[in-house]
């Protein structure tokens, strides 16, 4: 329980002279759900993009399960067990929900391109298994009916769930969620937080989540990190955060 899953050491990144993240350090323990909150432009999504290696930090280091992950390529991040969702839902629009989930299993499908061209028995078997697994996850999230739909025809809430399913299907250890509750009403949000807890237990996940919806954050997070102008201004349990005057001034109002 106390093992470190993620460790940020003194991360700084600047865009055109403006520091989006300024010497940020914090860690996430295995099995925790950590919330990251802060006003818009505080650098939350930038932080996620650094974890995903879309951006490279100027200084500092990221450790994943105590291994240095600062020099990974974006597509190698998932091999460390880290997978994410996106603020504005980045589904593969012209692929069915099922295919989206099969892409999620990309790195697990161990056959080469030549055997897939002639569709060997092995390839067929692997594909079948992958499909089965995709349906399992879809069923857990209660969206198995949409397997053959194109995301573009689905309501936003379902799209968000599909994206979550696509992340889960890759067997992650660390799940990074960027505003999973955006566009949901309070009741739906509560459902989501319950579901996430359940998933966390089931798949033994560590979760980092950005969210503005305070009830959600308070409900689900073990710990909360508050960012403002790229700096960490507070860290602690939800209750501590709620009453922290700095946080109230900068964020909660």
């Amino acid at each position: 329980m106390n093992k470190e899953a993620l460790n940020f050491k003194d991360i700084t990144i600047a865009f055109g002279g403006l520091k989006a993240i300024d010497s940020l350090s914090f860690d996430v323990k295995e099995g925790e759900i950590v919330g990251i909150i802060g006003p818009n432009g505080a650098g939350k999504t930038t932080l996620f993009n650094i974890i995903s290696r879309f951006y490279k930090q100027d200084t500092g280091k990221i450790e994943v399960f105590s291994e240095d992950a600062s020099s990974l390529k974006p597509h190698d991040v998932i091999n460390k067990g880290i997978v994410r969702t996106f603020q504005n839902v980045e589904l593969f629009k012209h692929m069915t929900v099922l295919d989206n989930l099969l892409v999620g299993q990309h790195r697990h499908l161990s056959y080469n391109i030549f055997s897939s061209l002639i569709m060997t028995k092995k390839v067929k078997k692997i594909e079948e298994d992958a499909k089965k697994k995709a349906f399992e996850i879809l069923t857990i999230l209660g969206i198995e009916n949409y397997a053959y739909y194109y995301p573009i025809n689905l309501p936003y809430g379902i799209q968000k769930k599909v994206e979550l399913a696509r992340a889960l299907v890759s067997n992650p250890k660390i799940l990074i969620l960027d505003e999973p509750a955006a566009g949901m009403n309070d009741t739906e949000t509560i459902d989501l937080s319950n579901k996430l807890r359940e998933l966390k237990e089931k798949f033994k996940l560590t979760i980092i989540v950005i969210e503005h919806h305070m009830p959600f954050v308070m409900n689900i997070c073990d710990r909360v990190v508050v960012l403002n102008f790229g700096k960490k201004i507070a860290e602690g349990t939800p209750d501590e955060i709620k009453s922290n005057p700095l946080v109230i001034e900068a964020y909660l109002g």
């Binding site: 597509h75 892409v103 990309h106 569709m119």
Partner: protein, 325 residues
């Protein structure tokens, strides 16, 4: 076996077609050309339709395939069994090279880079006389022979090309159903999401260029075997644009669409030629191109899809009850 009944029937039709109608030689030539374009179009659709990478220099790969074949056949007297793998290798290599700028460029910028590649190659075919024979090209390519039987007639070439088309279709279909194809589509739809799911974008973009280049190269090889001569101005920007038009008209991101588009563009001037107005086939082809994108924005293959939809309409209507919007 029942699963593939439709395909088998279709195949049988294509096998018997020239036998029943006993097409004359010139029409067979046209059919064979169309067949070669089918192979190119399938490969190009993998690149543009599935991987979302545009290329306006695709004729260069066809040219490379054709010239490689011509040189290997006339100067080294190799048989087609040896030539085809070499062509695949060389065109694949070139596809890899062209794929490199694609790692940094998108949209129009990629279009212009590939266009530049195409223009550069048509100049090379023309200028590098010692190898390509300059404007007079290379003649005297020997026809492919199987067990001593030379495929000299148009009909035998028809079946030869048909075999390649079948292989092309099967490979392409398998590709898009599996890991590699899905990775390509994922990159097309969202590079960031693809990356975060462990897809090496650079690798797969390169693969897309490589595969489509191999398709084009093999088609070029067939071209050289069909006409048994190659000339530089065949493989120009016009051909590249033609290939693009084929898949847009046939149907983007559809293997069947590639086939339909290639046949349509190659054969349509044949049906327009009886109109006795000057320039008529040129103008009407242009007009048809516009009408096609206007009324079949998803390609001609959409007619078939819509027909299928119409048949299944009831089922879909039932299915949609479940969708909340």
């Amino acid at each position: 076996m029942k699963k593939y009944m439709k395909q088998v029937i279709l195949l049988a039709i294509f096998i018997i077609l020239p036998l029943i109608f006993n097409f004359n030689r010139s029409f067979m030539t046209l059919l064979n050309m169309a067949g070669i374009y089918v192979v190119i179009a399938i490969g190009f659709n993998i690149l543009l339709g599935y991987a979302g990478q545009i290329s306006l220099g695709h004729a260069a790969f066809v040219g490379i395939g054709a010239y490689t074949t011509a040189i290997l056949s006339t100067k080294f007297n190799l048989s087609f069994i040896l030539i085809i793998p070499i062509v695949m290798l060389i065109s694949g290599l070139l596809g890899f090279v062209l794929g490199l700028p694609a790692l940094r460029l998108q949209g129009n910028y990629l279009a212009i880079a590939t266009l530049g590649f195409g223009v550069a190659f048509s100049h090379i075919f023309m200028e590098w006389e010692s190898v390509t024979g300059g404007f007079s090209g290379i003649k005297g390519i020997s026809p492919p022979s199987i067990f001593g039987y030379q495929l000299k007639t148009r009909l035998s070439m028809y079946y030869f090309i048909l075999i390649f088309i079948i292989i092309s279709i099967i490979f392409a279909k398998n590709l898009i159903k599996t890991k590699t194809g899905r990775a390509l589509m994922a990159i097309r739809d969202s590079e960031y999401a693809a990356m975060s799911l462990g897809i090496d974008v650079a690798k797969y973009k390169t693969i897309a260029f490589l595969i489509s280049a191999v398709y084009a190269g093999v088609a070029g090889c067939l071209y050289a075997f069909l006409f048994r001569q190659v000339y530089p101005n065949t493989f120009d920007v016009g051909m590249s644009l033609n290939i693009l038009a084929m898949i847009v008209i046939g149907g983007i991101a559809s293997i069947e669409g590639s086939v339909v588009g290639a046949l349509f563009i190659t054969l349509i001037p044949e049906f327009l030629k009886n109109i006795k107005i000057q320039n008529a086939s040129f103008i009407l082809t242009g007009l048809l191109l516009i009408l096609c994108v206007m009324y079949f924005p998803y390609g001609l293959i959409d007619i078939y899809r819509r027909f299928k939809m119409w048949l299944k309409k009831k089922r879909i209507a039932v299915k949609d009850e479940g969708v909340k919007v």
